[in-house]
Amino acid sequence: MRPLLELARDKLKRRKVIAVMSGKGGVGKSVVASLLALSIRGSALIDLDLSGMSIPKLFGVSGKLHEVGREGVEPIVVGGLKLFSLGGIVGDRYVVLPGYGQAGAVEALIAFAKLGDADTVIVDMPPGMGEELLALGRIASYVPVVVTTPSKASYKVVKQLVDYLIEVGRKPRAFILNMAYVECGGARIYPFGRGDEARRLGENVGARVYEIPIDPSLEDYVGRLHEYRGPVAEAVRDVARGL
């Protein structure tokens, strides 16, 4: 028996777990996951992108370590949001792990996280379909939120993830076309096309499809994302309302 796997399962059993994922990297999962967590009152954010660890960077807490007490790992709290990340265990250092190490890290991070009264847990998943995806599946029954861009290059990769999710009975609840358009002089410009294939994919699996705009000012908020109030946050709030 593995006590940490059992404890991790128990910890998430009575909470709503929303996993923000995409087969593709660089589509904005971490920003979406963070803004989702900020818009769902009383939620906690767990960063399972073990090698990327974007969450501490987005909130300006890179290198800050979690305090570990008698009852587990204390969250790093930013803007009222409770964050948990492997970055808070290893500090500002690269993480390179074989599959069994990734599984152990996912289980321990969740098992020891002091989630307190958070009734919703947002999980920021890494790109790809590796051990973290399997590990989360062993631990919790999660609601997938799939993020892609309208680009055809993203579509192919994301479709494989969606096929997998359907096969394991975890139908995506929301399907996000991120970086979909730019507002310019009152008109919407779609630099990567309208994303018709991706949109159809979302609709075919019964997920609600959302478009999230590009907002160049978002870049100024990297390191203080909790202060961002622009159109991307507004669009993500709409996603949160539908979950």
Binding site: M1, R2, P3, L4, E6, L7, D10, L65, V68, G69, R70, E71, G72, V73, I89, V90, G91, R93, Y94, V95, V96, L97, P98, Y100, G101, A103, G104, A105, A108, L109, A111, F112
Partner: protein
Amino acid sequence: MHEWSLALSLVQTLDRWALEHGVEIKRVVLSVPSPAQLDVSVLNEAFDALKRESRLERAKLEVKVRSPRYRCRACGYEFGQEEVDPQIRRIAGEYGEEYPLHLIPELLPTFVKCPKCGSHDIEAELSIKIEEVETT
């Protein structure tokens, strides 16, 4: 301090398991890898404090600290704890009380390199496991 959270996870997990199976727990054997550098006396003290009013109330904890065998998946070199210890000491010195392998021993390949080829691609059994449970 982490020994307490580990003991808590152990008591909570086994108490629930004992309740589901309608048994009391008499003895638990916990196997921990040596790179975790857990303090066995603190772990026992925490276990004894936390087991009160649970189905482990009369349980005795035995902690086995095992030295893993390591294998480099890049060059195939097999090695023992003695070749890892100097690297472990360096990490422990660097992090102090925040030593990451204390909390997650499976992180070892991030910090330790193969003594022959320098690869981080190291295989070992590093999980914390309940090896045996004796019930009444």
